[in-house]
Symmetry: C2
Subunit: 356 residues, 2 copies
């Protein structure tokens, strides 16, 4: 017994395959009676169409792709979930692809999209210029592309992200106002947004007349949250803590680093928030359950997802007049959610610090 095809259904019902096809696609060419009859039969035998044939014929797949560095990062995960939920309301299916911050994997992922007749792509690219020719080709020939989060990528299209410098400025300034002037900025190496983040950090220091110390910017290189960077992180943080002027605050730019640093500070018996104030980046869903609960910079993930889908669907609707778009970059606002890792217990320290 083989899978049933339109041809066989036609034979059973004494109709042509074309008629069955039209009926199943609810074509106005087919009579209501015939439609009902055909539908009843196909449901009874649980007819399941062959996507490859349909896709080959129509050149469409009804599928969008989301490409992220790694899904195990909570920001990308939340974003993916939001996109899934939004698309569940539409006819589009969604496939998830990971690049692991590897340009080669990114290229493979994009080629897979082309091979599979994907109709739209939402991507957070590996680097500012990664896969640029391929992305241009895809935009030109295949389907629209939206860039999110790592919006310093050079492709000309709609982009959705946040103003890293602004929110990092705000977080840094808050810590300074709380009496914490010796602040570690913890970054994942080689990420597009870092320049902007460092700028926000430096600007805040400058505005409060605090000298910038290069060694306080700690960059850790990893391509997946599962990478074993614990030892490197511990030694770098440890060295700073053992210096003549140990830092008393830390601003972590990714969830992965926040969790690891939390664990390491516990190990080193650094008290939080007393010895060290801590702010994490993006919204760890369990920030409340951490030890101590973690103050975070919450990204507007849901809004970003909504805007991404909206723009992608917008481009899909006008897919025939590609060159008429005025591409824009959207910056969405973050906000700081205060929890115990930056508790105002530090008020005491504030005065003491100021006298030093």
């Amino acid at each position: 017994m083989k899978r049933v095809t339109l041809k066989e259904i036609g034979k059973q019902l004494n109709l042509s395959p074309g008629t069955i096809s039209k009926a199943l696609n609810d074509s106005h060419e087919i009579g209501e009676e015939t439609k009902k009859m055909i539908l009843a039969y196909t449901q009874q035998i649980n007819y399941i169409p062959n996507f490859s044939a349909k896709s080959l014929k129509t050149g469409r797949s009804n599928t969008l792709a989301i490409i992220v560095p790694f899904i195990s990062s909570s920001f990308f995960f939340d974003f993916y979930e939001d996109i899934s939920l939004i698309l569940a309301e539409t006819n589009y299916k969604l496939i998830l692809l990971q690049t692991f911050n590897d340009e080669k994997k990114e290229k493979e992922a994009l080629e897979l999209c082309v091979q599979s007749n994907i109709e739209g792509i939402i991507i957070s690219p590996v680097k500012n210029d990664s896969s640029l020719p391929l992305l241009k080709y895809i935009m030109d020939q295949i389907c629209p592309v939206i860039i999110f989060d790592r919006i310093s990528h050079q492709l000309e299209t709609f982009k959705i992200g946040i103003q890293n410098n602004r929110i990092i400025y705000q977080a840094t300034a808050e810590m300074i106002k709380g009496g914490r002037e010796n602040i570690i900025l913890l970054l994942c190496k080689d990420i597009g947004g870092n320049t902007s983040r460092i700028k926000g950090y430096k600007d805040a220091l400058f505005n409060f007349s605090i000298p910038f110390k290069q060694e306080n910017v700690v960059e850790i290189s990893y391509s997946s949250p599962k990478d074993d960077i614990d030892a490197e992180l511990e030694s770098k943080i440890g060295a700073l803590l053992n210096s003549a002027t140990p830092p008393n605050a830390l601003l972590s730019s990714t969830d992965t680093l926040s969790l690891k640093v939390l664990h390491i500070l516990h190990k080193l018996e650094i008290r939080i928030p007393e010895d060290m104030n801590l702010i994490g980046f993006s919204n760890t869903p369990f920030a409340n359950s951490l030890n101590p609960s973690l103050t975070t910079i919450a990204q507007p993930t849901r809004l970003m997802a909504e805007k991404s889908v909206e723009l992608l669907l917008h481009m899909l609707k006008k897919r025939n007049k590609k060159n008429y778009f005025e591409f824009e970059t959207y910056f969405l606002d973050c906000r700081i959610e205060h929890r115990k890792s930056t508790s105002s217990v530090s008020a005491k320290n504030e005065t003491s610090k100021r006298t030093i």
Copy 2:
């Protein structure tokens, strides 16, 4: 400019499309010289084949599917990641589908697999008998199916899971030995493994001559970790805590519930582990960073993933002699990872308890 096809490449190189196809598939029929020349040309123009055409012709897709209730649960997430990593070493691609514990969505997911010429399915089904006829049809006509985690499903195939009753017995017994006899068992409602879990719980109580109290088995109904069950959970746990004999231990059967209950116990100002010992189920990766660090029942996720892929590939190799398999169910061992939520601070309580 359209996407380039084998036909056009053939025209460019004065060869037939068939020859190009054979060369790209490294057929022995084609001369080495010709192969090299063709490969050089297709790489230069970055030829990307059309999967739909290939899949339609061959009936294959080189793609496996993993179907889980929801990916936002850390056990399913870890399992998915492990499967991804293992398959990255093979030629198979992987698609992820979620059912949200909804039989209708499960049916849709399975139908999508059939439509897409998926070559193998690894599924944790919604219920013991969900999609049974469709799954049987798929096993019979389409591709092999492996069941994991929720292995009480009725489909006859290879299954990989854990012995819920045994590990719950062990965790319950440990708590009792630590002087905690009034133990809440927290379950996600309508999950196949619950019967087995409750059995392990009851057996442990029985062996230590502790009467079973039905009200201590708390079942919460949710279909996604994002469902808002906080109020229900808080009221149920709160009621037990306000009773004449408040529980002093809690065994949570899912990560989702562990995190929520941790948050709720903080709110209710219950001290952990002093007032309440806590054991979570499956391996929350950040168990160490929680407040307090959480003792967990760690599932052998990686092993389960490896065994699942191994069995699936085994069935794929012998796909022509379907009926010769001797299906087995594999039970992998869990272990308890002790952290502070069950700290031996309770030793004091132990004696006091025993005198009551």
